[in-house]
């Protein structure tokens, strides 16, 4: 099942609705890499609220999405990791190092806003 990508201002929102196959994840990475450039997005939010499990492949793909997007000029935030999922990931040693995480969509957008403000300050 393909993941819908929503454009909200200069942020791209990937809202994952159901369990994804490895193929879907790779497709998601390609889609995001493409859209970030096309829409000139400065941020990407990946919402995983509905996922009950994040395995090593999913974690690795999320990380590669974040790095890919970064190279295309957008910051990535993963939002909505469930408590059980979070603890299971840590126990399996799958911490998302180097990737911003936030509680939910709202928090993720606020985080991207904060980054943008910081960037403007630095530019001045």
């Amino acid at each position: 099942m393909a993941v819908p990508l929503l454009k909200q201002g200069d942020v791209l929102i990937a809202s994952i609705q159901a369990a994804l196959t490895d193929q879907d994840l790779v497709q998601l990475r390609e889609d995001i890499a493409d859209r970030v450039g096309r829409f000139r997005s400065r941020g990407v939010v990946i919402d995983v609220t509905s996922l009950d499990v994040l395995d090593s492949f999913a974690t690795r793909t999320l990380r590669s999405i974040a790095y890919t997007a970064k190279l295309r000029g957008a910051n990535t935030v993963v939002v909505g990791i469930q408590p059980d999922v979070a603890f299971a990931m840590v126990q399996l040693g799958l911490a998302l190092e180097g990737i911003a995480t936030a509680l939910d969509l709202e928090e993720g957008l606020a985080h991207l806003d904060a980054l943008a403000t910081e960037g403007r300050h630095r530019a001045r």
Partner: protein
């Protein structure tokens, strides 16, 4: 119905104490019970069955002379039950079947002793008097063949010791039940997660952390992060005297899991001893954000959340309810 509940209780005990069929087998081996004992015990069947009530009386007569058994003797209902069970016990002892059903009956009687606070030493005294009486009956019955009589009696003694081990175990188990319940209560009570500002949680940890409690702490913290939409959590371990490597690792995992949920955890109050032992253990804590004391931790949290606390001129009187 009551009988049925009783039986269920002793079955529950059997399970709780982890006495499986294999464990019963093992216990019999420990007292040195072997197939050759069965015919010897069978030889005593007649005399013991004929005098069962009399032997039971010896047991309770001995108890009646002891102050320690007052509680049991002052309750007619319990005493009646104990007498019935003790008589059943004597009859069962010579039946030759020492399986789960037999053990259940022993546990039922043991649970009754535990209920009336009959200590092992008191029980042992009375049980010895009973055995002595059985022994003299046996010797009288088999006076022509004293060697055979003695051997038969010693075989029966093996079962008696098997019974004693069960009774002592259940007395200890029942006494420890209170301790287990209190530990459980302490664990449940001692992991509060408090919201002290919008989006700021405080998790004070006091006492000993073991693996079970560490898991409870993790669960309640992660759940609260979600429920209260927390952005910063201050975990205060001032009240924790020792942290070993397993617990430190668990704390670290909790902190990382909270981070995946978008919350930043500040650990405060690591005592000098704990800090030194963690360093000595070589535990990698560079991923932790630690601040010396709770006050510092709260100030850091407020800074992250963008709060600034300002003292007003002269302060204000405390708001008292009635006056």
């Amino acid at each position: 119905m009551a009988e049925h509940t009783q039986q269920a209780t002793s079955q529950v005990l059997l399970r709780e104490m982890g006495i499986s069929d294999a464990a019963i087998e093992r216990r019999l081996t420990i007292v040195g019970f072997e197939p050759a004992d069965l015919p010897r015990i069978a030889a005593l069947k007649g005399v013991v069955v004929a005098h069962a009530s009399e032997c039971m009386e010896v047991f309770f007569t001995h108890l009646s002379k002891l102050d320690e058994a007052k509680v049991l003797l002052s309750s007619p209902a319990l005493l009646d039950k104990a007498r019935r069970l003790k008589r059943d016990h004597l009859l069962a002892m010579v039946q030759g079947d020492y399986g789960a059903r037999y053990v259940e009956q022993r546990l039922e009687l043991g649970a009754l002793y535990a209920k009336v606070g009959l200590d092992a030493r008191v029980f042992l005294g009375a049980f010895h008097a009973l055995l002595k009486h059985v022994g003299s009956l046996v010797m009288k019955e088999l006076e022509r063949t004293p060697i055979a009589g003695f051997e038969s009696f010693m075989s029966l003694t093996k079962i008696a010791f098997f019974d004693i081990s069960l009774i002592v175990d259940i007395l200890v188990f029942e006494r420890e039940r209170i301790i287990r319940q209190q530990q459980e209560a302490i664990r449940e009570l001692s992991t509060p997660v408090l919201q002290i500002r919008e989006r700021l949680l405080l998790l004070p940890i006091i006492g000993v952390i073991d693996t079970h409690r560490a898991r409870l702490i993790t669960e309640s913290l992660l759940r609260s992060v979600r429920a209260n939409r927390a952005k910063v959590v201050v975990m205060d371990v001032t009240g924790v005297a020792t942290i070993d490597s397993r617990v430190a690792n668990h704390i670290l995992q909790t902190v990382l899991a909270a981070r995946l949920m978008g919350a930043h955890v500040i650990v405060t109050g690591l005592s000098a001893e704990v800090a030194q032992s963690l360093v000595a253990l070589g535990i990698e804590l560079s991923k932790l954000d630690t601040v010396g004391d709770l006050q510092g931790g709260l100030e850091e949290a407020e800074r992250i959340l963008g709060y600034r606390v300002i003292a007003t001129e002269g302060g204000a009187p405390p708001a008292l309810g009635a006056t």
